[in-house]
C-alpha cells in the first residue's frame, strides 16, 4: 500500500523506473515550460548530451501518463509541456536520492562528502 501511495504521489520509485531521459526532461522543465526542440537544446546545454527525438517523445509520453508533466495548448506546430506539482515532488525526491548516493560514493572514494 505504501508503494502504491508513493506511486500515486509521483514518488522517487516512479521516476527511477521512468529512466534517465525522464529525469533530464523534468530537470529541463523545472525552470519553465518548453517544447520538444527547446528541451533537446536545453538538455544538450546542461547535461552535454543530445537526446534523440524518438527517446524524447517516448519519455514525454511516459511522463504525461504518470501525471508528472502536462501538455499546454499547442503553439503553431509546437507542443509545449510543463512540469506538474507531482512532477516537482518526484524530481525533488529523485535528486535527493541521487545526492545521497553521490555523497556515499564520494566518501568511499576518499573524495570527501558534499
Amino acid at each position: 500500500m505504501a508503494a502504491r501511495e508513493r506511486d500515486d504521489t509521483g514518488g522517487q520509485d516512479v521516476l527511477r523506473r521512468a529512466g534517465d531521459a525522464s529525469v533530464l526532461i523534468l530537470t529541463s522543465l523545472a525552470d519553465g515550460s518548453k517544447h520538444g526542440y527547446a528541451l533537446i537544446q536545453d538538455i544538450r546545454g546542461f547535461a552535454g548530451l543530445q537526446l534523440g527525438p524518438g527517446t524524447l517523445y517516448g519519455a514525454l509520453d511516459r511522463l504525461e501518463r504518470l501525471g508528472l508533466i502536462e501538455a499546454l495548448p499547442a503553439e503553431d506546430r509546437r507542443q509545449p509541456y510543463r512540469i506538474t506539482a507531482a512532477g516537482v515532488v518526484a524530481l525533488r525526491d529523485h535528486l535527493d536520492s541521487i545526492e545521497r548516493v553521490s555523497s556515499v560514493g564520494r566518501l568511499r572514494l576518499g573524495l570527501g562528502g558534499i
Binding site: G36, G52, P53, G54, R78
Partner: protein, 154 residues
C-alpha cells in the same frame, strides 16, 4: 534546409508510429527532425531514433491493447465452442488434428503434460485419437505447436 531525401527517410520512420501518435505529434516531430538535421545531426541518426521510438511504443504501449483484444477473442471463441488448440497453434493442418485429440480428452490441456512419459525424447507415441504425424519437432517437447510462435514469428 535538409534535402528531400533526408526528410523522406525521417518521414518513413515517423510512419512506423501508431496513427494516434502521428496525429498528435507527427507535424512537430517532422519539424524537430528538420531543425536537428539543419543543426548538423545526420538524417539517418534522427530517423533511427524515431524508428527505435516507434518500436518501443508498439512493444510497450500497444501490447496492453493487444492483450485486451486477445482476451476478448478467447472469450468469444470459448462462447462459440471453438477449441483453444485452434487458436494456440500456428499450423492450421496440425491444429485440426490436435484439436480433435484435445476435444476427445478434455483434461489434457497440453500435449506433453497429459502423459508422464511423453516428455522423453524417444516417446513420440501418438495417443489414441491423436493423428499428429511423427514429426521430430514434436518428439522432445521442443518445437511443439504451442512453442512454434517463438520460431515462426520472431
Amino acid at each position: 534546409m535538409p534535402g528531400p531525401r533526408s526528410m523522406r527517410l525521417v518521414e518513413s520512420a515517423l510512419r512506423c508510429y501508431p496513427q494516434r501518435w502521428r496525429s498528435r505529434h507527427g507535424d512537430e516531430a517532422a519539424e524537430i527532425a528538420s531543425m536537428l538535421i539543419r543543426d548538423g545531426t545526420p538524417a539517418h541518426s534522427v530517423a533511427w531514433s524515431y524508428l527505435i521510438g516507434a518500436a518501443r511504443m508498439r512493444l510497450v504501449i500497444e501490447p496492453r491493447r493487444r492483450l485486451g483484444a486477445a482476451v476478448g477473442a478467447l472469450l468469444l471463441a470459448g462462447s462459440l465452442g471453438v477449441p483453444v488448440a485452434l487458436l494456440s497453434t500456428s499450423a492450421p493442418a496440425n491444429a485440426a488434428s490436435v484439436a480433435h485429440s484435445r476435444t476427445a480428452h478434455p483434461h489434457s490441456a497440453h500435449p506433453h503434460s497429459a502423459h508422464p512419459h511423453s516428455a522423453h525424447p524417444h516417446s513420440a507415441h501418438p495417443r489414441n485419437g491423436d493423428s499428429r504425424p511423427a514429426d521430430p519437432r514434436y518428439a522432445g517437447g521442443r518445437g511443439a505447436p504451442d512453442g512454434c510462435d517463438q520460431h515462426d514469428h520472431c
